[in-house]
Symmetry: C2
Subunit: 251 residues, 2 copies
DNA sequence: TCAACTCCGTAAACACCGTTCACTACTCGT
DNA sequence: ACGAGTAGTGAACGGTGTTTACGGAGTTGA
């Protein structure tokens, strides 16, 4: 049945165990508690044995971050599965709310993946190809953005947005990625339905969504927000409104 | 001349030394390198001696974060000193650009102060009074926001913003803080010049500014941004534009 | 089948960490 | 001048990441 040898199976199993225990330590006691010896203790081996699987503790944390991205993407995909294919605004709500919910429920993982400098923790994905999506999480957001574009005529004023000239090259590259995401899913679009102003607006939307979530996780709003959820939803409604979704389809 | 005793002077001097060396270690080698032994080595004492000044390493990091806030506030105040009292939009540019510049130049300090969960690092200020500004940095931003309000009639559509009802109480509290900031500086305003929609907009502006800066520091934009500065400036222009500053006074 | 080879895991060791404790000087108020 | 209080020390404890030499089990080919 299985092509793998006994040794390979055991190794894969141990590696899963290592990641799972490391995740548990991260979630429950924070990044500093993710200790090689603590992981080894939980798994039932000794600390130096971990070097058969990872180059260093930092390497382990990097791969852990990658795992987290993948799991988050799976969670968001599951949220999307319950939503009608054509209700794009509901999909945007689902993904953004899912991201916020996950971040608040797993602040340590959020910090590791979304609030670590690149030198203390390499990028989430090993790909050097900058035209590709960095990680699984980015893929989900990109897909929803792609559906958003393909399914809906953008308001005219988005195309007229004051896009800085210095950003044209970068935004064009991102525009191609977005268009590729759409066509990969069978959609057909040409460039004129996705003006640079719209690409810029999508980027700004990510700035706002990430900003809100991070501020909430880190408690850095300028005043005590006793109930941040309607604030987040209101922001989403405004973002969608600026993209032409005037009706309030907030599930 | 000095009222303090010899011992008090020496203690204060040592404490300054400790903070300075701790800051240097943080800036150059990151949070994990801020070890009690390394600090003590640089200062010229032994590690246990640090417990005469701080309860624990975490306590030291907390006070370090407070120092950082104060220094950042001083830096921003210095930036503001060069700007005409009545050119509020220039002041907004100065403070926001200063914040971004500082964050990019000191990513480790930014991470410690603005991207740490409250349980791994207590709040920047020990004040439990939630109606007060949390820290020195917040004070600077608040003052500029106050000048922005006092000096300029806000556009009417800001007052009509769709503010979630659940936020009314919190926003009203923040509104009072903002108004107090203005009156403390000699300005005279009454409530109707600062509708809740405007308070909400200021909060949203902080979300965007913080979001952009954090994404840049952590390299989490969805595509490689080869020149993020004009993107930031463009965002500031848009924020100011929404507040009624249509002319481009970008220094 | 049996030897050669690869690989996982171990124990010991090194240097470093935060923290506690007993102890020594020195400073200060009385 | 003397007792109290304080800054600092050195030793120690248990913990950390990492390297090294080594043993034993899995795999492979003749």
């Amino acid at each position: 049945m299985t092509e793998a040898t006994r040794r390979e199976r055991l190794r894969a199993e141990t590696e899963r165990d290592i990641r799972r225990q490391a995740r548990a330590l991260l979630v429950e006691h924070g990044r500093d508690a993710v200790t090689l010896r603590a992981i080894a203790r939980e798994v039932g081996i000794t600390a130096p044995a971990l070097y058969r699987y990872y180059d260093s503790r930092e390497d382990l944390l990097r791969r852990l971050a990658d795992d987290i991205c993948t799991d988050l993407a799976a969670e968001l995909d599951a949220d999307l599965a319950d939503i009608a294919e054509d209700d794009v605004s509901a999909q945007v709500y689902a993904v953004c709310r899912g991201f916020r919910r996950w971040a608040l429920a797993h602040p340590q993982e959020f910090t590791l993946v979304f609030a670590s400098t690149e030198d203390t923790l390499g990028s989430c994905a090993p790909t050097d190809d900058r035209s590709q999506v960095g990680d699984q999480f980015g893929r989900v957001f990109l897909e929803v953005a792609g559906r958003l574009i393909a399914s809906h005529p953008l308001p005219d004023d988005l195309g007229d947005l004051d896009v800085p000239a210095d950003l044209h090259a970068d935004l064009t590259a991102f525009q191609q990625v977005l268009l590729a995401t759409v066509t990969d899913r069978g959609g057909v679009v040409d460039e004129h339905v996705l003006p640079l102003g719209a690409v810029y607006h999508i980027t700004q939307s990510w700035v706002r969504i990430y900003g809100h979530v991070a501020l909430e996780v880190f408690g850095r709003f300028p005043f005590a927000v006793s109930n941040p959820e309607p604030m987040f939803d209101s922001m989403l409604a405004q973002i969608l409104g600026e993209m032409g979704f005037r009706h309030l389809s907030r599930p």
